[in-house]
Amino acid sequence: MTPLAEAARVTRRFAHLVAVDDVDLHVAPREVVGLLGANGAGKTTLIRIMLGLLPPTDGSVRLFGRSPSRETRRRIGYVPQGLGLYDDLTPDENLAFARSVFGGEAGTLPATIRPYAGTLVGRLSLGVQRRVAFAQALAHRPDLLVLDEPTSGVDPLARARLWETIREAADAGAGALVTTHHMEEAEECDRLVVMADGRVVAEGTVAQIVGDTRVAVVHTDAWARAFEALEARGMSAALVGRTLRVPGVDPAEVARALGDVPAEVGEAGATLEERFLQLTLGERGGAAA
């Protein structure tokens, strides 16, 4: 199957900075790909290259099997983090405006947001605004969706509804590229691409990326003492409820560091976020060395 979007060995330099370093990325029809990375990892630059807004220094980008152009742009639906809606227009007016820019088919608001069609966007809740932005991005039936933190700031039910919309578009044959900082959102994707320092450092499903990474887990009634004890020995513990999780350290070593703090030390599989941090900080450590 021809990918909807494909970056092949793409590198982008800004003066001495290598923002994107030899990256391969593709999005196939019916696929939702999540792009993860800390600030400065190169995500935004890569997205701009993928959208055809910025030429790569090296490598090539193909959209729908062709070079990026005004034509390929019309086949993309883009929802930026700021949503790109006009606050002082109504949802209907926003859609009409987008239609006049993109041409093509007339977009309509889904039934659930029809009641808000005549209210100024600036007065709508963020959840409704996000649905309007989705409706606008989907109005011209794009083949590729590019979404930047698409469900940030909304409640879980609203988030589930927004993801239904993304999934419906994918089931109908579109592909989606989603950038996010939130693991809940990442876990909704079919496949993840993790970037650090401009490079792809991991790729696959959540299970594939987490793999068999383990973390030490400290169960204790005295978590505050345990936290300070570990800190004093240079072990960084993350507080989760009343347990402490210590990535990258052997449980026996953690137990030793705890000294006389009453605690039970075990082990558990890492979360996606823990694995992500390890990949990212590991990369940074490597770069600094």
């Binding site: 809740s125 940030s152 993350a238 507080l239 009343r242 990212t280």
Partner: protein, 284 residues
């Protein structure tokens, strides 16, 4: 000491922002207030720190100088450098220069801000600015630390640093309250209050909230049909369907799952939505 609010109601004109909300925030505990935009999180936090007077209800909080507060809109002075921001707070809270210097240096170092010490806060990245805001709010060892969406839009590396600061403040004995729109983050707190439309949807430890889901949640690969469609939502590649009475559309709609906090809060919101649409339906 334990701080908190009881039976709190806040109205803005004819809009009820909070209705009869209660929350205990004991020392040394991290409490998460979770909900979407407009749920009432900020209103609750503002009442808790004394920035807003409730129309009804009780608020218990320490003296203003024993409170640390990071609002969702600002927490730093953009024209002052990182160090000046911290020195300014220290003066305002009457902390000794020596202690400020030592404590600030340790926090800046631990969160990767040392090299940015002399940069104006306005030139920092979002994550750095937010870390500075939290450090400022906790520098004077407050008894109550209130953080309004400290991690929204912040990348995971900075978020890990922010959570280190949060844990540190709690380990020093502060009652920490933070607002978030993300349930995986709320799950890290030891106590959660879920708000929806100004009312409490659920409250307790994340485990207890999850265990208290009424009825049954089932998971299936296909979208449920009929009446069940109204009670279903998509999570990842699969569908989840909630049956309030447990049985109902049982066998045909997939396998039962053990709910987590995410399911519990979704179900609570769904129940509210169904209730509203049923009432609306009867009224029409």
């Amino acid at each position: 000491m334990s701080w908190g609010v009881r039976g709190m109601t806040v109205r803005f004109g004819d809009h009820t922002a909070l209705e009869g909300v209660s929350l205990e925030v004991p020392a040394g505990r991290v409490t998460a207030v979770v909900g979407g935009d407009g749920a009432g999180k900020t209103t609750l936090l503002r009442c808790l720190v004394g920035a807003l007077a409730p129309d009804d209800g009780e608020v218990r909080r320490p003296d203003a100088r024993r409170i640390g507060y990071l609002s969702s809109t600002s927490g730093t002075y953009p024209d002052l450098t990182v160090e000046e921001n911290l020195a300014f707070s220290a003066t305002a809270y009457g902390i000794s220069e020596a202690e400020t210097r030592e404590r600030a240096a340790a926090f800046l170092d631990r969160t990767g801000l040392t090299e940015a010490r002399d940069r104006p806060a306005g030139n920092l990245s979002g994550g750095m600015r937010q870390k500075l805001g939290v450090i400022r709010a906790m520098l004077h060892r407050p008894e109550l630390l209130v953080l309004d969406e400290p991690t929204t839009g912040i990348d995971p590396v900075s978020r890990a640093d922010l959570w280190w600061l949060i844990a540190r403040a709690a380990s020093e004995g502060a009652a920490v309250v933070l607002a978030t729109a993300y349930l995986d983050e709320a799950e890290r707190a030891s106590w959660v209050l879920a708000l929806d439309d100004g009312r409490a949807l659920a409250e307790g430890t994340p485990d207890r909230i999850a265990a208290a889901v009424p009825g049954t949640i089932r998971t299936s690969t296909a979208r449920p049909s009929g009446d069940a469609a109204r009670r279903s939502w998509r999570r990842g590649a699969r569908w989840r369907t909630w049956s309030p009475d447990g049985a109902g559309d049982a066998a045909s709609q997939g396998d039962p799952v053990r709910p987590d906090l995410h399911d519990a809060v979704t179900v609570a919101a769904l129940a509210r939505e169904l209730e509203r649409s049923d009432v609306g339906g009867e009224a029409a």
